[in-house]
Symmetry: C2
Subunit: 536 residues, 2 copies
Amino acid sequence: MRYKDFSALTTVARLTGLARHPYDLTRPEALSPARLQSCKSSACGFDLLYATERLDDEVLAALQALADEAELVEQFMSMKRGAVLNRIEGFASEERQVLHTASRDIFTEQPHYPEATDKAKKELEKLRLFLEDLASGTLVNANGEPFTTLVQVGIGGSDLGPRALSLALQAYTLPGREARFIANVDPDDTAAILDGLDLGRSLFVIVSKSGTTLETLTNEELVRTALVRAGLEPKEHLLAVTGQGSPMDDSSRYLASFYMYDYIGGRYSATSMVGALTLGFILGYEALLEILRGAWEMDVVGEQTDIRKNLPLLMALIGVWNRNFLGCTTCAILPYSQALSRFPAHLQQCDMESNGKSVTRQGHAVEWKTGPIIWGEPGTNGQHAFYQLIHQGTEIVPVEFIGFRRNQRGLDIEVGQTSSQQKLVANMLAQSLALAQGKEDANPARRFPGNRPNLVLIAEQLTPYQMGALLALYEHRIAFQGFCWNINSFDQEGVQLGKVLATKLLHLLANRDKSAPAQVRTSTVEEALLQEAGML
Amino acid sequence: MRYKDFSALTTVARLTGLARHPYDLTRPEALSPARLQSCKSSACGFDLLYATERLDDEVLAALQALADEAELVEQFMSMKRGAVLNRIEGFASEERQVLHTASRDIFTEQPHYPEATDKAKKELEKLRLFLEDLASGTLVNANGEPFTTLVQVGIGGSDLGPRALSLALQAYTLPGREARFIANVDPDDTAAILDGLDLGRSLFVIVSKSGTTLETLTNEELVRTALVRAGLEPKEHLLAVTGQGSPMDDSSRYLASFYMYDYIGGRYSATSMVGALTLGFILGYEALLEILRGAWEMDVVGEQTDIRKNLPLLMALIGVWNRNFLGCTTCAILPYSQALSRFPAHLQQCDMESNGKSVTRQGHAVEWKTGPIIWGEPGTNGQHAFYQLIHQGTEIVPVEFIGFRRNQRGLDIEVGQTSSQQKLVANMLAQSLALAQGKEDANPARRFPGNRPNLVLIAEQLTPYQMGALLALYEHRIAFQGFCWNINSFDQEGVQLGKVLATKLLHLLANRDKSAPAQVRTSTVEEALLQEAGML
């Protein structure tokens, strides 16, 4: 397949024309019941309501043509089948396959890339036995007590996804189990988590593909020191999730090792052992499988060529419409579910690290906008905070609402004839309408311009299955956009320069006593910066 | 004082000219030690390093002229002295004073607005006695046990600031005390917090100025129900922070009431009783005073007319330079301190609710950009996530780094001759350099364009005093920008339409059984939306 530049697609010119007069949501009757009904797509328990986007049938047809012309579904299929998509033609790059879907392609007899799925199944079986040993009391601490807490030590992709999902599904936690997370090299992060932890009944999962991540190894040392101080044997409390053969794949130092593979990028690793170990510990193996099943079913949805049936593709194209044709620079993800409070942070990483790029897959500078800035906090909280700007500010912020008809836990209350859950959903839908329709007012401060594009994703309840489907929905939305923009969504070269400079600064700090007093030397920029910051 | 439109300021034209050739940070020697030294301002323990912004002496002089021409400091002084700044000329508006500074103007014999400061002192004295009663064992639960947990029930400004500060200062918590927070109308939020709480030893602070906030009252009912079910008397566990005379100012239903006043907006209320009660409970009265002292000292710094001495004003002007002249739409606030993990969320509300406006104080449509989108997460975590886009994406994101030379807790470790805290700060400074300087590379994917403006705020340690100063620094940065853009930063008309529509939808939900089957009626848009969302 020959990848085409975004600007070279004939449908891009067509869409540019259509964007001169986008659908006006503020006209009377602009949001008819018929439009609400027709602008709706459903899959894996989710209904996607997009009548409040600034598009009509003509734009949808053009977006379908864009998907076809750019061969987005073909690219998605080739990803699933193991093509080396993580590369830049003609330049040194990671040259890797992109196979996070293989880690859940376990519910069919014909997986797309059997070799990776076989490996995933092997790790899952190891995990199943490990969890069984914990449950049966075969695997206990030195005093014969069961482990109650699992602390995941990782950063970036080894932290955000597992953390967001653990929090999202906390309502389903097995009795006597909990998960905690350490990520930051800030020593106060580790101290705050270790504070009050029953170390003897805690397991620590150290997660690093290379086995060399600075933050994670430093925090591992802090954990080992704390265990030793408490008179415990670190090896009996530490687990490794790492690449096979990495420095961390060492049975003399870890109770067990689970493997991750270089064809699964960190930000797409929540359904690999990076997330599975912790999620399995708190939710049990069956619930973990439900997460994988939800993700897998959405993986299958992503194969549809009709954009109205392919939820991730449709969301990707709506995003492209807002980004490239309506000129929006950010996208807010606003879950009306406190359980999803850290899901926007996970998507922020997944999306911005994937699509915050300026180079095509042929190594040319892009001449079009790529990934937007992704941000968000749960509603209704946000309504009492930043929504002011979304309604009346000078920037247009496309919004993606996520909600559920039923809550997770039993507790609810009726006040004024409606339950809290109904209030929650009613507020979400009201915001969707308000942003779209706006409102005229003789008082200029009370005028709402409207035409603020948004969509609503709603499902029955945030279950493990639904969480898996939601995760995969966004993973594929991101991948489809990257394909469309002709960028490599799977590398992260942008993290390197900061690492190099940090090493340089740390070298200066480590050697500061050995050198002459700063004031008598000609400073480099790095030395001067450390001095001005009061570090030298 | 006659407020001038931003576009009518003569210095705006001058700055527009200067913005055609902003300072090039990628040139060799662009970041000399001399520049690093000269682009530094200090106050209240903070050093502000801004050599990595795209400005030079000429731009700084023009920004000084802008501040003078727009009379920004005069407006700030009039705010402190009780001018009715929360208004739109000629139109119905809140018509209120803006006196959050009065709540900490308690360290001088000559407060700027004595009436409000006297009221603040009275509430502080009530609080001091209340905390004393808790400490001495005079105020205990029905079983004679001390209260250990304070749960703050509020939303928006009654939640984000107090939550961010409590978390920031958790390391200083008194033994046996903890704070928790309930905000969302999502019933799962309350359920998750109540789950595992020792209700008998918990106090609940219900915070609502009007005493009518939907979310807060609903959650109060959930709390009352839980207390009754546990055989406890709600009145003995509930405290009110509310306006004097509001429906919640009722000693038959609350153990005690503390007052908030309509001249302190929710998002500026962290140093009023809205934050003071919870912070005083977990940190003690003396530490609370230290927070206020830090804020007060920064309030005084804000009076300086020299922008190099006025940290909040300088940051405001740098922000205006990036927003209005270099065209940036967002601003990332990235604390290298896990303790500040929720501070960006507080600032997101404080800034976007204040300055996400499109109408001048004379009721005209603005013809210039106002408040940017504020977002952020702690470093180093973000380095493994969204920094990719900041370094190499197609949007320029101005960054504000916040760091501390020492950590809060004792625990730290040396790995490779440097401590974790040194690694943390070194990473922050390295990112600042990397974003500014960039790096050429023959491999286009490894090229860093640089010229990404950023600044660094660094102090010795995140203490209560430093937290107070940081809070006020940002409060005033926001106010100065609002003054500059000639908007009313103190109302929030943009929240109203969503409320109206939510009420409409809830009315439909409450009455759904009474009406005819949906399919036989002509649907309104609201009914149709509820139907498509599966709620009817």
